[in-house]
Amino acid sequence: MESDANISIGSEMDIVAARRAGRVLALNLGFSGPEVTMIATAISEIARNIVVHAKRGTISLARIHNQNRAGLRIVARDDGPGIRDVQQAMRYGYSSCQGLGVGLPGAKWLMDEFHIDSGSGKGTVVTMKKWLRS
């Protein structure tokens, strides 16, 4: 499946760019206003995660389909230090540096599907999907 956009992430500006790309794609796919906002927020969170912990990485956006629905897939990839305890990182209220602890679990709650593959020293790949309501 081809990506519709690849955004390299390395600064606050890149975060904004990723949000913008995600918002545009989501609007094109026909997501509602609140859903678009949620997608933008989720992208914001994983992009900020890259900037804060790995310094650099990429975010890829793609349209996807299953049998009867269209959707949006977001993949965030970095070669940073990785997350030692993924389960702990996904717990509500956990945050390595931000006060609110929205971060990765926040992104998960805003999306329909969320998968994270990480470990100490092996970087992090986060894959998230949101499906259009039929």
Binding site: R19, G33, V36, V102, G106
Partner: protein
């Protein structure tokens, strides 16, 4: 004082809160105005950041609605050059963005809540399981307590029975002790009676008969009758003498155990034709009077049994000192009672054995009857030499 302080603290908090609120509202208005004209994504992210800031300052969704409403009213108050529609559109996107941190938190709470419900359900199930186990344990404890109580009661019951039996045995022993004492006294009295009164009378008759025999006026036939009477008298005197000795040898009281036994054995051997070998340690005379009588009676009973049933040739009779006790050992070479036909082994015989055992026990002695097939019987009696009371206590202690 405290109330005043609290009041002040509250006032300070409220003041801080409203200052934060105005700051936030101002920033919100400025950013929204900018976004409405530029439509830049960066300003939308600012909206998101403002939402987070509001949350961190403990403001709620309703506060955000007020801030948004005020900002929108302020923007709409100025002429919009027909861009009113676009302004409203931008305001909606901006508002959603500002509210999205609340949405995230709300969803997070929902998930935490679901997890909590699951945990509570699990806990309740576990509580239920524990309660079931607890009930079972309680029932088990109750059952065990009942069993324990029953055991204790039955133990007490048996202890009472045991104590009763022991008291009864004690009483019986006292009684048989008394019976034996009385029996000995009675025998002694009858024996003395026979010896002193009857014996003297018979002696007097004998003297009279002898003087009659010297009377020449008594004819031949009279003399013959006289001789017959004298013979009868002599054998009667002997019978009575034996009987008196059997009952209670005066010798036992006057000369001691060993002379009495020796004399008895000699008479017994003569009467039965048994060969009796007698060896004795003179220390046996140091025994108590009761112990001596017991040994004498056991010797009598044993020899009577040997003569009655054993068809023995020889009897070996030995009295020794063994540590602080005197041992009397009687061995015969006849048939042991195990070889006797059951009809011979009658109650009388059993009673004799039982009587011996009882007598020995009363002086804190021990008796062992060892029948050996083909080799006769050995009876061994052990009686304490001194300190009968002390030994009795030792025996009791040893019995536990």
């Amino acid at each position: 004082m405290v109330a005043v302080l609290n009041q002040e603290t509250l006032v300070t908090a409220v003041t801080t809160m409203s200052r934060n609120f105005s700051n936030l509202a101002g920033r919100y208005l400025r950013t929204l105005r900018k976004f409405a004209t530029t439509k830049r994504e960066a300003d939308l992210e600012q909206a998101y950041a403002l939402g987070r800031k509001a949350m961190s300052l403990k403001f709620g969704v309703l506060d955000m609605a007020r801030i948004h409403q005020a900002a929108l009213a302020s923007l709409l108050a100025k002429p919009t050059d027909g861009k009113r529609e676009k302004l409203l559109e931008a305001a909606e996107v901006f508002f959603l963005e500002a509210l999205s941190p609340f949405e995230v938190t709300h969803r997070g709470f929902n998930e935490a809540n679901r997890r909590l419900q699951r945990l509570i359900a699990e806990k309740e199930k576990r509580n239920h399981d524990l309660a079931v186990i607890n009930d079972r344990l309680t029932a088990e404890i109750r059952r065990r307590k009942l069993t324990e109580k029953a055991l204790r009661q039955s133990e007490q019951h048996y202890r009472r029975l045991f104590d009763d039996a022991r008291a009864m045995e004690e009483g019986l022993r006292d009684l048989s002790n008394k019976v034996l004492d009385v029996q000995e006294d009675e025998r002694k009295r009858i024996s003395r009676e026979l010896h002193d009164e009857t014996g003297q009378a018979l002696t007097a008759i004998s003297v009279t008969l002898a003087s009659l025999g010297r009377n020449e006026q008594i004819s031949g036939i009279g003399q013959q009758r006289l001789h017959e009477a004298q013979d009868l008298l002599r054998s009667t005197m002997e019978t009575i003498h034996n009987f008196a000795r059997e009952l209670r040898p005066a010798m036992l009281d006057e000369l001691g155990l060993l002379p009495a036994l020796r004399s008895y054995l000699a008479a017994f051997a003569e009467r039965t034709g048994l060969h009796i070998r007698f060896r004795a340690n003179p220390l046996a005379e140091a025994l108590t009077a009761n112990a001596k009588i017991v040994l004498y009676r056991v010797a009598q009973e044993s020899l009577t049994n040997v003569a009655k049933h054993a068809q023995a040739q020889r009897v070996d009779f030995r009295i020794r000192k063994v540590n602080s006790r005197i041992s009397m050992m009687i061995s015969d070479d006849g048939k042991s009672y195990r070889e006797l036909p059951p009809e011979v082994l009658k109650q009388e015989h059993r009673l004799g054995l039982l009587g011996m055992q009882e007598r020995v026990r009363l002086v804190n002695g021990q008796i062992a009857i060892r029948p050996r097939v083909g080799k006769g019987t050995t009876i061994n009696v052990l009686v304490p030499l001194n300190g009968a009371v002390e030994r009795r206590e030792n025996n009791l202690a040893a019995l536990g």
